[in-house]
Symmetry: D2
Subunit: 362 residues, 4 copies
C-alpha cells in the first residue's frame, strides 16, 4: 500500500516506466471546478524530458488523456482519472538489470521485496517517470489553490555545491514565488544558474551526476490550516515530498539551522500594524504546531545525485551470487533537480490543498 496518499484529496498513482501507461486517480476535488488544461499541459512540460543538456534524451510528450471526472473541462464530482501512454520505451536496455542491480536504485530492494516478480524495465514503478501523474494531480491542485488565493512556486536552491539566492522567508510575495520557475533553468540568480549548468555538464562528461536542493514556497495560506501532531503542515508536506524519488531531506523555514540558534533569535515576534496581526519574521516557515501562521510556507528538500551513472561501479549478480562491475548506459539525467522543480510544486500543492479542505471542518 504505497502509491496512494491524501485524506480529502486522494491521489492514487499507477503504472510503470514501460507498462502500457502511467496515470493517476484523484478523488475529492469539489465539483464545478474549471480546470485550465492548457496551463496544466504547460506545467507538465516543465517536467517532461527532452532536449535540454541537463536531462535525458528520452522524449515523452506527457499528454494526459482524461478518462473520467471532467465534463467539458469542469470537474463533475466523480474521481478524476488521467492516463499518459508510454510510447518511447526501449525495454532491451534493461535486461541486464534483472540480474545486476544499479547502486543507488531500488533494483535490489525491489527484487527482495517482490521476490523477483517486480517490473525491472526502466525502474518499473520506482521510475522517476511516475512523477508525471503526480504532476497532473499537483498541477490541478495548484490551480485550485490559486482560486483560494494561494500561490505555489519553487526554484533550484542548490546544485553541486552552488547556491542560488534563497526565497526571503519573510516578506515573500505571490509574485516572487513565480519568478524562477518561469525560466528554462529555474533559479533566482541567473549567474549562479550558469555555474550550475556548467557543473552539470562537467559531471555528465565525467560520466557522473550531481545532487541539489529545491526550495518551494506557498503564499496566501490563511491562518489556521493544518492539524496538531501528525497531520500538520510539515507532516503532510514531508510525507508527500519523500514520495519523490531521490529526496533525502526535508526542512521548513530556517530548517536545520535552528539547531544553532537561540530562542530569542528564532522566535517570530508579533505586532499589530494597521489593526492587523503581522509577524516580524518567518523563521518558522509558515507553520507553528503544524498549523499555518498566515506567513508563506517555505520548504526545502535535498535530492541525491542521479544514481544512474556511466562510470564503473561495484554491483553483484543476484542470480549467480558473484561480483559484477556495472556501467549504466541508456538515457538518464545527470541531475534530476531541474526537472524536479515542478514535481516539488505539485507535491506541496497537493498536501496544502488537502489540509485546506480539512480546515472546512474546523
Amino acid at each position: 500500500m504505497a502509491s496512494r496518499i491524501g485524506k480529502n484529496i486522494s491521489v492514487s498513482i499507477f503504472g510503470q516506466s514501460h507498462s502500457a501507461g502511467i496515470g493517476c486517480v484523484v478523488e475529492g476535488i469539489p465539483a464545478g471546478k474549471k480546470i485550465d488544461l492548457d496551463e496544466l499541459q504547460a506545467f507538465l512540460s516543465r517536467r517532461a524530458p527532452g532536449g535540454m543538456p541537463w536531462s535525458t534524451p528520452r522524449k515523452e510528450a506527457d499528454l494526459p488523456e482524461f478518462l473520467g471526472g471532467l465534463v467539458n473541462g469542469v470537474t463533475c464530482g466523480a474521481p478524476l482519472a488521467a492516463l499518459i501512454r508510454n510510447t518511447n520505451t526501449k525495454s532491451s536496455d534493461y535486461d541486464e538489470l534483472r540480474r545486476v542491480p544499479r547502486p543507488g536504485h531500488a533494483d535490489y530492494v525491489a527484487n527482495m521485496k517482490f521476490h523477483g516478480a517486480q517490473d525491472v524495465s526502466g525502474g518499473g514503478h520506482f521510475s522517476g517517470r511516475l512523477t508525471a501523474p503526480l504532476c497532473i494531480a499537483g498541477g490541478i491542485a495548484i490551480q485550485l489553490l490559486r482560486d483560494e488565493g494561494v500561490e505555489v512556486g519553487a526554484h533550484i536552491a542548490r546544485i553541486a555545491g552552488i547556491a542560488d539566492d534563497a526565497f526571503a522567508l519573510h516578506g515573500l510575495s505571490s509574485t516572487d514565488v513565480h519568478v524562477a520557475h518561469a525560466k528554462t533553468f529555474p533559479v533566482l540568480n541567473d549567474a549562479q544558474g550558469e555555474r550550475m549548468i556548467a557543473a552539470i555538464a562537467e559531471a555528465r562528461e565525467a560520466g557522473d551526476s550531481v545532487g541539489g536542493v529545491v526550495e518551494c514556497a506557498a503564499t496566501g495560506m490563511p491562518v489556521g490550516v493544518g492539524e496538531p501532531m501528525f497531520d500538520g503542515v510539515e507532516n503532510a508536506v514531508a510525507r508527500m515530498l519523500f514520495g519523490i524519488p531521490a529526496v533525502k531531506g526535508v526542512e521548513f523555514g530556517r530548517g536545520f539551522d535552528v539547531a544553532d540558534m537561540r530562542g530569542s533569535e528564532n522566535n517570530d515576534g508579533m505586532r499589530i500594524v494597521d489593526g492587523r496581526v503581522v509577524f516580524e519574521s518567518n523563521n518558522a516557515g509558515g507553520a507553528n504546531g503544524g498549523i499555518t501562521t498566515g506567513e508563506p510556507v517555505v520548504v526545502r528538500c535535498a535530492f541525491k545525485p542521479t544514481p544512474s551513472i556511466s562510470r564503473a561501479q561495484h554491483s553483484i549478480d543476484m542470480q549467480a551470487g558473484t561480483n559484477e562491475g556495472l556501467s549504466v548506459h541508456g538515457r538518464h539525467d545527470p541531475c534530476v533537480v531541474v526537472r524536479a522543480v515542478p514535481v516539488v510544486e505539485a507535491a506541496v500543492a497537493l498536501a496544502l490543498y488537502d489540509l485546506l479542505l480539512e480546515s472546512r471542518m474546523d
Copy 2:
C-alpha cells in the same frame, strides 16, 4: 484529525497539558506479546521532566495505568489503552496566555483555528507533555522490534552549534545504537556533551534557549520493508517525527549533504562477501526507493530552540488588538533536545514497526 497515525499500528494520542490526564490508544499490536513494564517505565523516565539542569522543574512521574489491552502484562489483541494522570498542574500560570500568544508557540494559530475555544493551559494539546503517551506507544514498539532483531537508539547529534560524534552510517552495530542513550546526557562524545551542558546553562542564565539535532538509528531491519512512493521508510518516519513539537527538519543517511555530492560518491556499491550481499557504504541511510536495504536506518531531525524564554519578546493582545511585551515565566526546558532523545526513538520505532507488519503482506 490530527492525533492519530499509523496503518497497521494505529496510535491515537489524547489529553492536554492540564486536563485530567493524557494517554494513548494503540491498536494492531499482535496478541500474546509480553510487555516488560519495568523497561517501559525506565524508558518513560528518560523523557520525564525533573531535576536536571537542562529541564523544567515540573516533576511528573509519568506512571501509566493500562486501561485495556493487557492481561498480566501480555497483549490480548484488544486495543492497548494507557493513561497518565496530570497531577502537578498550575493553571494560573497561563491565564495571560489566552490574550497574549507566546512567540514560537501554537497559541496564536490555535486561537485562530479553534475560534478561541482551545485549551490554553500549559499549551493544551500542543504541549510537549503529549510526547509522553507517544513514548508509551513507542517504548512498546521498541520492545516488539527487538523481538524481530531490530534495535533502535538515538543520541544528541548537536546542541547550540556543538556537534557530537556521528553514528557511523556503515558498520553501525546493534550495540552502538545503545551506547549514548544509556547515559544521563545521551551523547557519544562526553567531552562534547560537557560543552553542550555548559551552553545550555549559559542560555538559561541569559533567559534564553538553544536548539539542536537528534540522530537515531535502527539496526537489524530486514531487506524489503517499506513501500514505494508514499509509504516508504522516509515518508513514514518523517511524518511521525514532524509530530514531535519543535522539529523543523528531517534527513536520512547523508541527508542534505547529498546536494553537494556526485553519484559516484553517493551510490552505495554492493559486493558478495561469504555468499552474502553486503553494501560498501550506507549513504542512503538504510533505504532506497522507500524500502529497507538491510543497512541501518539512520535519521536526523532538527529541533528549534525552546520558544518559551524569559527574555522580553514582541507579542500582541489578541482581544484588545494592541502590542504587548511578553516574558514567559513558569517552568520550561532551556533545551528540549535532551529529553527529546527517547521521543525520537519512540517515533522511529513506531513507524518502522508499522512497516514491518505491512511487509507480512508482501
Copy 3:
C-alpha cells in the same frame, strides 16, 4: 485493526469487560461545541444495565470521566477522551470459559485468532459492555446533529415475533422519532410492548433468550449528504451498525421488501409543492445512490437472541479436545434489543454526522 471507525469523526473504542476501564477517543469534533453532559448521562442510562426484568442484574452506573477534549463542557479541538471505570466485575464467573467456548459467542474464534491470549473475562473486548463508549461518542453526535437540525431516534420494531408499529417512512416528523425512546420500554405501540415484555419473561423462565429488530430514523438531513459508491449513507451506517454485537442484518427504507416490488411501486415520485421539491413517498429510506434525498433516513437492524442462555448446550473443551455440555450462568440479558435502542441511535448518529462534515467539502 478493528475498534476504530470514521473519516472525519474518528472513534476509537478501548477496554474489555473486566479491564480497568472502557472508553473512547473521538477525534474531529469541531471546537467550541457545548456538550450537555446531563443529557449525555441520561442517554447512557438508557443503555446501562440494571433492574429491569429484561436486562442483566449487573449494575453499572456508566459514569464517564472526560480525560481530555472538553474545557468547561465545551469542546476545545483536542481529541475527546472518555473513561468509564469497570467496578462491578466478577471474573471468577468466567474461568471455565477459557476452555469451554459459549455457543454463539466469540469465545472460540477469539481463542483461535489471538492464540489463546485473548481476555476471556466477561467476553473481553467482545462484550456488549463496549457499546457504552460507543454511546458516549454517539450521544455527543446526537447533540451535534441536533444543532444542524437533525433528530435521531429509534424504537423496538420487533421482539420474539411480535411487531411494533413501524415508523412512517414518509411524513415522519422530528417529534415522531422521539416518541418511543422516551419510554422505559421503547415501543410505539404499548400494547405490543406488553406482549414483548411477556415474551421476554417467558424466554427467561425457560432459560432461553429472544431476538428482535430495532428501527431508527433521522429527520432533517439536508439533501446531498453522503458519497457515491463506498461511502454512501447505507455503507457508512451499515458498517457502523454491524459493529454492535449480535446484529445480523441491516436494511434501509423498504429494505428486503423491495425484492418483491415493481419499479412503479418502489420509485419515489417527485412533485413541486409551494415551490419546493417534495417526494411522494420514501421507499428509498432517505438515500439514493448513497446520497440523502432530504427525506428521513430510516434503517432497521436485526439482533440475534442473546447467546448466553442457561439451557444446556453443546460445546467443547478446547484444551482437552473433548465434548462438553455448557449452561451459561452469570448475569445476562434475555433480550439485548431493549438496551440496544440507544446504541443503534448512537451508531446511526455517528455515521451521519461524519458524512455531514464530509459534505462541507462538496
Copy 4:
C-alpha cells in the same frame, strides 16, 4: 471521497457511463501472483450486458486493458490498473435528464450535491456500468482467494416474489457454491428460474421492472479472519455490498429471521469429531464477533427493482420548478438481479481477501 475502499487491498473505481472509459486501480495485491486473464474475461462476461431478455440491449464487451501492475500476466507489486473503454454510448438519450430527474435514481441528489456540475449522461458515475471495474478487481480477488482454498459463488435467491432454493447454511461445499453461477440464469432450482424469467418478461411488457435477492457464499475461509467491532466480516462485506447500486439490505446467516428465534435455536453448538472442531449448524453465517468460524460465510442482499421504467412517473423540472411526467426510454434492464450475481461475488471476494491479508498480522 467515495469510490475507494479497502485497507490492505485498496480498490479505486473511476469513470462515468459515457466518459472516455471506466476502470480501477487496485493496490496491495502481493507480487508474483499469476492472474488467469481468460477466466477473468469470462467472469466479466457474466456481468456484461447484451442479448438476454432480462438485460439492456446495450452491448459492451467489457474488455479491460491492463495499464500497469501486470508483467506477462503476473502481478509485479505495482498497483494494478485496468481500463475499459466506453464505446457504445448515446449521450443524446440523456439530455432531458439534466432537467428532469428519474425517480429512484441519483439524478436529483447528484444535482443538489454537485451543484449541477455532475455528469448526467447515462447516470455518470452512478451508473450500474461502474460495477464492471468492481468486477475486474473482484474477479481477481476470487482467483487469489482460490489459491488460499476459498471458493466464492452466488445465485439468485429471489426475483419478483419467486424464491430459488437457498444455500444450505451448514454443510455447503466448495462445489455447491459454483453450481448456479455457471448457468446462464444462475439459480439452483431451474424450475423456479423459469418462473422468474417469465416474471421479468411480464414486467418488461408492462413497462415496469422487478427486484430480487442475491445470495452469496464463501467456503474455506480459515477460522480467525476478521476483526472485532468495526472491521469484522459483516462490516466489511456489508460496506462493500452497499456500494452496488440498488442494494437496500444485507443480512448474514439466518439474517432477519433471527429476530423471531430463541437463543437455543440460533446458537451453533460445537462438537469434536475425529479430533477436529465442528459446528452443528451455521446460523451465524460463518462469523461470530466479526470473526470467521471456519463455516461458510453466507450473505444475502436485496436489490430494488430497476428504477428506469417506461411507465409514466411523477417527476419535476429542476430548472423551471414545475411538475413533469417522465417515461424513461433508452436501454435498461427490467431486472438487475441477474447481472448482479457476479458483482455480488466480486464484492464479497474483495472484502474477504482484504481481511485474509489483515489476518497475517495476527
